[in-house]
C-alpha cells in the first residue's frame, strides 16, 4: 500500500509559511525523545508525514531505492531483504520508525565505521523547504556532482532544513555469512578495536561491553571463515549484542540514568566524567570500534559537552530532556554563523522544528 500525500503536505506547509507559523514534523513518533524540547505554552502545529508512504522505485540491480518519508523503516528493510539486499548503515529499528525520521535524525547502527553512515548512502531527496517550495536535490544515481550536495546535508538536520518528502538511498547486498566472536579483555581499553580497524578484514561491528569485546565478521562464507580463524576468540552462537546495541534495548540501557551519545575519534582515551553524587561512576558502552560511546550518567549537559570537546568529539543527549535543556553539543564562532545562515537559506523564519536541534542556530 502506498500513498502520495505530497500535494496536501505542500499545501499545509505553505499555509504555515504564509502565517509565519512554526510547526513540528512528525513521522512515526519513535524518536520524539531526541532533541530539545522548547519551553512553549501552546502545543505547536504538526506536519505529519505518516500518510506519505510507500516505495516509489526499487530496482535491485541498480542498488538504489527511492521511498516516501513516511514509509515504515520495517517496510523498507523487509522489501530489501526479499531481494537479498539491505540498508548498509543498519539503522536503529525503533517501533514505528519511518525512513524520514531515520534520515532526519541521521542514525546509523553498529556497521557505520565499516559500511558507512546514512549520509554516505543518501543519493537524493525531495523536500518542502521552510519557504514552502518543492525542491529535488541529487537523484537516483550513485555518482552525481550536479549542484551542491544538499541531500547529504539533510541527513541529521533534524528536519530544520525542510520537510523530507522522498528519499533515494544506495543499498547493498546482504552478506552471505555472518559470525560474531567474543574476546575477554580489560574494560575501557579500545586499543584492540583500533588496531583491528587498521587490518583488512571483513569486520562489520566492534563493541566493547564491560570486559567483553564482540567482533562481527560478514561477507563471503570462505572469507568470514578464514578471518574468524585468524582472529581466534570465542564464537557466539546467537546474534550477539548487535540488535540490542543498535536499538538501544541492550541490558546496558536498563540503567535509569540519562543516556548520552559521544561521537569521538575511536582512539580517544576514556572520557572524563565525574561520579554521580552517590559515587557511582558513569557507565560506558563502546560501539563503532570506540568511535561511538553510549554513556549512562547524571552529569549535567555542560559536563558532557566539555568531556566530548576534550576528546575532540561531540555529545548528544539520547534520553528525553527537561524543557529548555540543551541536547546537542553547542556550536559557536564562525561555524555557528555559517550554519545559522545555512538554516536561514532553507527556512528564513525558522519554522521547521524550531528549537529542536541547535537552538543557537534559530535566532
Amino acid at each position: 500500500m502506498t500513498n502520495d500525500a505530497s500535494a496536501a503536505l505542500l499545501e499545509t506547509v505553505q499555509q504555515y509559511v504564509a502565517g509565519a507559523n512554526p510547526f513540528v514534523i512528525v513521522g512515526g513518533g519513535s524518536k520524539s525523545f531526541l532533541g530539545c524540547r522548547p519551553a512553549v505554552s501552546e502545543p505547536p502545529a504538526v506536519v505529519s508525514v505518516a500518510e506519505h508512504h510507500g516505495v516509489i522505485n526499487y530496482e535491485p540491480t541498480e542498488l538504489v531505492m527511492t521511498a516516501r518519508s513516511g514509509t515504515p523503516l520495517s517496510t523498507v528493510i523487509s522489501t530489501l531483504h526479499e531481494h537479498g539486499q539491505q540498508l548498509p548503515f543498519d539503522p536503529p529499528q525503533l517501533p514505528n520508525a519511518t525512513l524520514g525520521g531515520t534520515v532526519a535524525c541521521g542514525l546509523s547502527g553498529p556497521t557505520r565505521p565499516y559500511a558507512g553512515s546514512v549520509r554516505d548512502h543518501a543519493l537524493g531527496v525531495r523536500i518542502i523547504s521552510g519557504k514552502g517550495e518543492d525542491c529535488s536535490f541529487g537523484g537516483e544515481v550513485m555518482k552525481n556532482v550536479a549542484g551542491y550536495d544538499v541531500s547529504r546535508v539533510q541527513v541529521g538536520a533534524f528536519g530544520t532544513l525542510g520537510v523530507l518528502l522522498d528519499i533515494s538511498l544506495k543499498v547493498l547486498p546482504l552478506p552471505e555469512s555472518t559470525v560474531t566472536l567474543m574476546f575477554e579483555q580489560a574494560a575501557h581499553d579500545t586499543v584492540p578495536m583500533v588496531q583491528l580497524a587498521r587490518q583488512y578484514l571483513p569486520v562489520t561491528g566492534a563493541v566493547l561491553i564491560g570486559e567483553q569485546r564482540f567482533i562481527r565478521l560478514a561477507g563471503s562464507e570462505a572469507g568470514v571463515k578464514a578471518a574468524a580463524a585468524q582472529l581466534g576468540g570465542e564464537s557466539v552462537n546467537d546474534d550477539g549484542p548487535w540488535t540490542g546495541v543498535r536499538d538501544l534495548s541492550h541490558a546496558f540501557f536498563d540503567d535509569i540514568r540519562p543516556t548520552w551519545r559521544f561521537s569521538v575519534p575511536d582512539y580517544a582515551s576514556t572520557l572524563e566524567l565525574p561520579n554521580d553524587d552517590d559515587g557511582t561512576p558513569a557507565a560506558t558502552l563502546y560501539d563503532w570500534g570506540g568511535a561511538q560511546r553510549w554513556v549512562k550518567t547524571n552529569a549535567s549537559a555542560e559536563v558532557c559537552f566539555a568531556a566530548a570537546a576534550g576528546a575532540k568529539g561531540h555529545a548528544t543527549r539520547f534520553s528525553e530532556a527537561p524543557a529548555g535543556a540543551p541536547t546537542h553539543q553547542p556550536i559557536n564562532g564562525v561555524s555557528a554563523r555559517l550554519q545559522s545562515e545555512l538554516r536561514a537559506s532553507f527556512d528564513p523564519h525558522r519554522l521547521c522544528n524550531r528549537g529542536r536541534f541547535h537552538p543557537e542556530l534559530d535566532s
Binding site: C135, V141, R198, Y200, P265, K312, L361
Partner: protein, 496 residues
C-alpha cells in the same frame, strides 16, 4: 577601498593596482601579472575555454590566504581557487575581473598517522602522493581518479572526485574526515571531525563537491584504508555493448560488489590497445574489466562466481590476470583511454554523465544516432558499476565549426542522460561546461535554493562566480527548460 573598485578603472589600471596591493600581502615573486606569466593559468583541463585573470597570487601560508581573502572581500574582487588545473569542466577557469588564487605552494604532507589511519595534508598535494607515503604502512587513500598522478587533493575536495574503485570504496566525500577552510571574508575554520560525525549540519558533505563556490580549502585530513591483501582482475569480452551491460547487472544481482567494474566499447578498446599494448581483444564489441579485492579467501570465492556470471551472460572470451604486472597493465590501458583516444584524433572532448545502468542500451543506441547526425565519432568508457558514462567525442578543432558542433553534441548527450533519469555530471563537476544543462536537470525552486546556499557562505558572490549553478536568466537564454508537471519552469522570464 570599495569606492574605487566601483569607479571605472581600465583593465590595465586595475591590474596594476591589484598587483601592487597583493604584493604587500605575500612575499616577493608570489604575485604574477604580466601577460606571459598569466598565460599558463588561462585554462584548466578543459582547454576550449580560456581567459586571463587580472593577476595570479600564489600564497604559501594559511595567513597569506586569509589576507588575500580579506583584501578581495573589502575590494569586492572575484577569486577563483586553483590546484593543479587538471579539472575537466572549467571549474578553475579564471574570472576576467578577478584574481586567481593558486594553491600549488601548499604541497606538503603535514602528518601521516598510520596507527590511527589518517593523513593531514596541504591542498596542493597530489592524490597519488598520499597513497605513496601511506603504502609502506600498508595503507592507502582510496579515491583514484585517472588523473591521480597530477590532480591535487584540494581539487578532489572541490569536485568530489571519484575514480575506478568508487563503487566499493566511495567518492572523496566518503574518504575525507575534515578540512580547514578560509571563508570569503578571510576567517579560518575546521569542518568535519576526526570521529565519525560532527555536531550541527554536515558542512563536510556540503563543501565537498562545491566547486570552490563556498570557501577555500587550505588543509585536508583524509582517511587511510588498509591495502587489500589480494586484488584480482577478470577481463571479459562481449559481442555487444548491451550484453556487457547485462553482465554488469548480473554481477550485482549475484550479491557481489567488485572493487572496480569498467566497460569499454570497440573504439575505446582499439585505441587503448594501440596505446598501451595491454592485451585487450580488439575484435570485441565491448570489454569488461572486473576487479575483486579483499582477503585471499574472499577473492578466491568471488572470482569463480564472477567468471560463471560472465559465461552465463555469453562472454566471448574470459581472462584472469595471472600476475600483478599483468593486472596493472590491464588497468593501464583503461586509465590511459583518454590519451589513447587523443592519438587517433586531433582532439577529443570528454563527456561525463551518469545514467541508471538499465538505460545503457537505450543511451548507447541514441548516442550512435547522434554520432551519425553530427558526423562525429564517439568512443565510450564507462564506470559501469555506478553508471558513470564518459563518451569521448573525436573531433578536429582546426576544422571550421567542428568545435561548436562537438559542444552541441556533448550537450545533447548530457540532456539525454537527464532524460533517462541520470545526471549531467557524475564526477567532473559542472564548472562552466555544463552550466546550461543544469537548467534541464533542475527546476526554478531548486536552482533558487542552490543560490540561497551559496549566499549563506558568500553573500557578495565573490568565490568562483558564474560557475556550477546557472542564473535563471541564463536558463531562459539557453531555452532548454526543465518541464515539471507539464509546466515550463521559468514562467516569470521572457523568452528569447
Amino acid at each position: 577601498m570599495v569606492a574605487d573598485a566601483k569607479t571605472a578603472l581600465s583593465r590595465a589600471d586595475k591590474r596594476a593596482l591589484y598587483s601592487s596591493e597583493l604584493s604587500a600581502l605575500v612575499p616577493k615573486g608570489q604575485v604574477l601579472h604580466t601577460d606571459e606569466d598569466l598565460r599558463p593559468y588561462e585554462s584548466d583541463g578543459l582547454t576550449v575555454f580560456k581567459r586571463a585573470p587580472l593577476s595570479v597570487v600564489l600564497p604559501a601560508t594559511i595567513e597569506e590566504v586569509q589576507a588575500v581573502m580579506r583584501w578581495a572581500s573589502s575590494r569586492q574582487v572575484p577569486v577563483v581557487a586553483r590546484g593543479a588545473g587538471t579539472g575537466l569542466s572549467g571549474g578553475a577557469l579564471p574570472h576576467e575581473d578577478g584574481i586567481l588564487l593558486g594553491l600549488a605552494k601548499f604541497n606538503k604532507i603535514l602528518e601521516l598517522n598510520a596507527e590511527h589511519g589518517y593523513a593531514r595534508v596541504q591542498p596542493g598535494v597530489t592524490n597519488l602522493a598520499i597513497s605513496n607515503v601511506a603504502r609502506p604502512h600498508g595503507l592507502y587513500y582510496a579515491p583514484d581518479p585517472s588523473s591521480q598522478i597530477a590532480c591535487t587533493i584540494g581539487g578532489n575536495v572541490a569536485e568530489n572526485s571519484g575514480g575506478v574503485h568508487c563503487l566499493k570504496y566511495g567518492l572523496t566525500v566518503h574518504n575525507v574526515l575534515s578540512i580547514d577552510v578560509v571563508t570569503v571574508d578571510g576567517e579560518l575554520l575546521t569542518i568535519g571531525a576526526m570521529g565519525c560525525d560532527d555536531a550541527g549540519y554536515d558542512l563536510m558533505a556540503l563543501l565537498t563537491g562545491s566547486e570552490g563556490m563556498l570557501a577555500v580549502t587550505v588543509e585536508v585530513t583524509v582517511k587511510l584504508l588498509p591495502v587489500p591483501p589480494v586484488a584480482k582482475l577478470v577481463m571479459a569480452a562481449f559481442n555487444s555493448v548491451s550484453a556487457a551491460g547485462d553482465a554488469v547487472g548480473s554481477v550485482i544481482a549475484e550479491g557481489i560488489i567488485p572493487a572496480g567494474l569498467e566497460l569499454m566499447d570497440s573504439p575505446a578498446i582499439v585505441a587503448a590497445e594501440d596505446f598501451a599494448g595491454c592485451g585487450y581483444p580488439t575484435d570485441a564489441a565491448a570489454v569488461l574489466l572486473c576487479e575483486l579485492d579483499g582477503t585471499e579467501a574472499e577473492v578466491n570465492a568471488q572470482i569463480g562466481r564472477v567468471s560463471d556470471v560472465f559465461n552465463r551472460c555469453h562472454a566471448t572470451a574470459l581472462h584472469i590476470a595471472e600476475t600483478e604486472d599483468e593486472r596493472l597493465l590491464l588497468w593501464k590501458g583503461r586509465k590511459s583511454a583518454f590519451p589513447a583516444v587523443g592519438r587517433i584524433s586531433p582532439d577529443y572532448y570528454c563527456i561525463d554523465g551518469t545514467i541508471p545502468r538499465r538505460e545503457l542500451s537505450t543511451v548507447l543506441s541514441r548516442m550512435d544516432e547522434l554520432s551519425k547526425e553530427f558526423g562525429l565519432r564517439i568512443a565510450n568508457v564507462f564506470h559501469a558499476g555506478d553508471g558513470n558514462l564518459h563518451p569521448l567525442i573525436l573531433y578536429d578543432a582546426s576544422v571550421d565549426g567542428e568545435t561548436e558542433r562537438t559542444e552541441r553534441l556533448g550537450s545533447e548527450i548530457l540532456q539525454l542522460c537527464v532524460k533517462v533519469g541520470g545526471t549531467v555530471t557524475g564526477e567532473h563537476g559542472v564548472g562552466v561546461e555544463k552550466i546550461n544543462e543544469m537548467c534541464v536537470q533542475f527546476d526554478t525552486d531548486t536552482l533558487n535554493q542552490f543560490h540561497a546556499v551559496k549566499a549563506a557562505f558568500d553573500p557578495a558572490g565573490l568565490l568562483n562566480p558564474g560557475k556550477a549553478i546557472p542564473t535563471l536568466q541564463r536558463c531562459a537564454e539557453f531555452g532548454a527548460m526543465h518541464v515539471h508537471n507539464g509546466q515550463c519552469s521559468h514562467p516569470e522570464l521572457e523568452r528569447f
